[in-house]
């Protein structure tokens, strides 16, 4: 219920002094309201009596835009949902469309997707925990965590060629296989991350000021959390063990052994601890996935021809200099490592109506070019069967669901996202009322509100 200015009341305090409660407008431009949101609080002294949360400052019409581009064209938009862990969004959307089209992706593709999305989950949790610590004044922890996140983003960059707007998954596969040198850098990055997590534990978990700030603030019971539709670490901190990866396993999560940490109190401390432990579990998942991953091509097969960079080949072909490229073999640039033809059978579906051809084919021969063209041209390419489908993955904040309705055309009739932090934000007034102004910071921090995902 919106708070009106006129609801500010003057009451007579028992001491006989007239007191007036104060309206404090926190945000949308406020250091702690990262990702833009506005909290209007009515205060009695330092205590919060009433809260109104106003969202929608980052609404960009994701769902509407998705109705106007083909199925593969939506993937770059999904990067901008939860921009701290875009790979999970990619995966969720692609799996939804694959469910709609009835496509099965190769085994190795599942592993690659799981590995990159778990790396994203760690970076998301690092950002959330670090930002909470920073807003509580522990600036150093934040920078340590950002340092660890940097190691992980370097991994993401190695795989996808980008750090933030990765657009890595495709309907029916992934853009390319993991690069040749990946397992070792990944283990090294995890070693650094674990070191940072240990340091952070030392600085936070054993810090009386921090634990005092986190314990007993922003409490929500498991029943209430489920009532609001809250999922993810937030719900697990309240004691419910619902995790999409365990309860409705997708990809290869049912083959990997990992624990789902749960809390008991449902306060900020529990959410902090759950996130800390989930990072460790995510690293465990990635390490197990490396062990189990079925082999696929790891070396780019140079083919028979002389290697020519793809872009150069296109330029030569445009100028009609066919002789220079005859017998040549297009090679993809450094950021496209692993996206060559040799990798395709192991990371992409053989459903050629759905999946974009390897880059050498798209650049190097007419069939590949035609296939690429047909797929990306509006009204050609994939046509979904009539129907609707819902699929959810475990996002960093909870159940990230995509609901896609198809009317048989080349693009979705309706795309709807179930953003995990939307449910948590709707419970925010309940979490905040009765606490103090300063408690807004850790509670809101533990919500891990991501504007892109919340407002879409």
């Amino acid at each position: 219920m919106p708070i009106e200015q006129s609801t500010t009341t003057t009451t007579l305090h028992e001491s006989g002094l007239a007191t007036k409660d104060m309206l404090l407008n926190i945000g949308p431009a406020h250091p702690a309201m990262h990702g833009i949101v506005r909290i209007i609080a009515r205060l009695e002294g330092e205590e919060i009596e009433e809260v109104d949360v106003e969202i929608g400052y980052l609404h960009r019409g994701f769902e509407k835009m998705s109705e106007n581009v083909d199925y593969n064209g939506v993937i770059p938009y999904t990067d901008r949902l939860n921009y701290v862990s875009p790979l999970i969004n990619n995966m969720g959307y692609c799996m939804t469309v694959e469910k709609l089209l009835g496509i099965t992706v190769p085994e190795r593709c599942h592993y690659v997707r799981v590995i990159v999305s778990e790396i994203s989950r760690i970076s998301d949790h690092l950002t959330c925990v670090g930002a909470t610590a920073m807003e509580l004044g522990a600036f150093t922890v934040f920078l340590y965590m950002i340092k660890a996140r940097e190691f992980l983003w370097e991994l993401v960059e190695k795989v996808t060629g980008a750090r933030l707007t990765v657009s890595y998954c495709r309907v029916g596969g992934v853009k390319g296989d993991l690069p040749d040198e990946f397992v070792e850098p990944c283990r090294a990055a995890f070693k650094e991350t674990r070191k940072v997590l240990d340091e952070a534990r030392g600085l936070l978990e054993r810090n009386r000021i921090f634990t005092d700030r986190m314990n007993g603030t922003g409490i929500i019971s498991a029943e209430d959390a489920i009532g609001y539709g809250i999922t993810g670490p937030f719900l697990r901190a309240s004691g419910s063990d619902y995790d999409v990866r365990k309860d409705c396993p997708y990809a290869i999560y049912d083959r990997i052994d990992f624990d789902v940490p749960i809390g008991s109190e449902g306060d900020n401390m529990d959410r902090f601890l759950v996130r800390m432990e989930e990072m460790e579990q995510s690293m465990r998942i990635v390490e197990a996935a490396f062990e189990q991953m079925p082999p696929g091509p790891v070396m780019v097969d140079p083919g028979t021809g002389r290697p020519i960079p793809a872009a150069e080949m296109v330029d030569l072909a445009k100028m009609g200099n066919i002789a220079a490229i005859t017998g040549g073999c297009a090679i993809a640039g450094p950021t496209l490592e692993g996206s060559s033809r040799a990798h395709y059978p192991s990371t992409a579906t053989d459903e050629k109506r759905a999946f974009l051809p390897p880059k050498e084919d798209a650049y190097g021969n007419i069939e590949g070019l035609m296939q690429q063209f047909k797929l990306v041209m509006m009204g050609h390419g994939i046509r979904g069967p009539l129907g609707e489908v819902y699929f959810a993955v475990e996002g960093a904040n909870g159940e990230l669901g995509f609901y896609v309705v198809s009317d048989g055309r080349g693009h979705a009739y309706r795309v709807r996202v179930r953003p995990p932090c939307f449910a948590i934000m709707s419970a925010l007034p309940e979490l905040l009322v009765g606490d103090m102004v300063a408690d807004i910071i850790p509670t809101f921090g533990s919500v891990n509100m991501i504007g892109g995902e919340l407002d879409r």
């Binding site: 610590a133 600036f139 150093t140 920078l143 810090n207 000021i209």
Partner: protein, 363 residues
């Protein structure tokens, strides 16, 4: 008479110059120190003729920026008080230095010059009075800005300062009882005495509990992390939310000045001020029998160096704490002040009194 005045003016100028520069230098140290603790390089831009001096010129760049920025006074603000508040803050932080003895008496010919701007009998009371008055700057800033955040900052500052000053004062009573003076000059001189012939009678030795209470409460006085509730940049932004340009700069400067005041006080009261262990006006007398004679100038310089080094170590300690600890919550801060420090300070006082009675006349 004229000479006396000139000497005092000279001393005041020296302290003023030294302290302000130290505050400026402090910003650089803070930048570099926080960078060190956080695995960063720290500010290293702002060159002058291509020389970067490890980012030393950033302080100057800051000041230039602040002086040339537009000075915004909100419509709803009380114009006069809004302008006065930063001056109050800086003024009281600066005058507090007047009573702090920063070196041993300098002898030039017949004249003995005490290295202390104002030789006040009740110097300790004076310093605390000035520090307490400093809170008016904060309160005025909060109330005159016409902003809810500023008001909350001002209120928090008031409550915090008053709560912690009590613990601070009581912690010091023990020291006063042992040395029998509230004249900081005499207090320092008295700390030069040796206990059992070898242990300097510094405040930390005779009143260790009081020292920890003092440092905690004094940190709260400086309004820096973990006690920066009046500022709490990610919560309520602070009492100076409506200030810009050099007026904001003055609050910023006050923070550093107060840190230096508190560091100087901790040095003066608990670490023997300018005292160097075993150094008397005529030279070193080590308990194991060595003697190194020094003349008055060396004696004074050693004293000045001793005071500066101790003060800087405290400044560094406060910075280290600032970059390590998170912030308290309002009620937790009050709990710590009233239910933690205050009772301990009182118990410490009683124990000190009882011990003194049993030991007889201490001095």
């Amino acid at each position: 008479m004229i000479v006396e005045l000139l000497i005092k003016a000279g001393l005041a100028g020296f302290v003023f110059f030294f302290v302000l520069n130290l505050a400026g230098f402090h910003t650089w140290v803070e930048r570099k120190q926080s960078a060190l603790i956080q695995d960063r390089i720290g500010a290293n831009r702002a060159p002058i003729f291509g020389f970067r001096m490890l980012g030393m010129f950033h302080g100057m760049a800051d000041v230039l920026k602040m002086f040339t920025k537009e000075d915004i006074v909100p419509d709803r603000a009380d114009k006069t008080l809004h302008m006065l508040a930063p001056f109050f803050s800086v003024f009281f932080a600066l005058v507090a230095f007047a009573a702090i003895p920063f070196g041993p008496p300098l002898v030039i010919g017949e004249r003995v010059i005490d290295l202390q701007v104002a030789k006040i009998d009740a110097a300790l009371l004076y310093v605390f009075a000035m520090l307490s008055l400093g809170v008016y700057g904060v309160i005025l800033a909060g109330f005159a800005s016409g902003n809810n955040y500023a008001i909350m900052g001002g209120l928090r500052a008031t409550a915090q300062m008053i709560s912690y000053e009590i613990a601070l004062g009581i912690a010091l009573v023990g020291v006063i009882m042992i040395h029998g003076t509230i004249d900081l000059g005499e207090l320092v001189a008295s700390q030069g005495k040796l206990l059992w012939g070898w242990l300097p009678m510094w405040g930390i030795v005779v009143q260790p509990v009081a020292f920890f209470i003092f440092v905690t409460a004094a940190l709260a006085e400086t309004k820096r992390l973990p006690f920066d509730l009046p500022e709490g940049e990610s919560e309520i932004i602070g009492y100076f939310v409506e200030y810009s340009g050099m007026k904001f700069g003055m609050f910023f400067l006050t923070d550093f000045l107060e840190t230096i005041v508190v560091a100087s006080l901790a040095t003066t009261i608990f670490f023997g001020g300018w005292q160097v262990p075993y150094l008397s006006p005529d030279g070193f007398h080590f308990p194991w029998g060595w003697e190194i004679p020094v003349n008055n100038l060396v004696y004074v310089l050693l004293g000045l160096a001793s005071f500066s080094v101790k003060g800087l170590i405290f400044c560094f300690l406060f910075m280290q704490l600032r970059w390590t600890l998170p912030r308290f919550r309002y009620d937790q801060l009050m709990n710590l002040g009233w239910k933690g420090l205050f009772p301990i300070a009182v118990i410490n006082l009683v124990v000190t009194a009882v011990v003194l009675v049993f030991l007889g006349e201490p001095n």
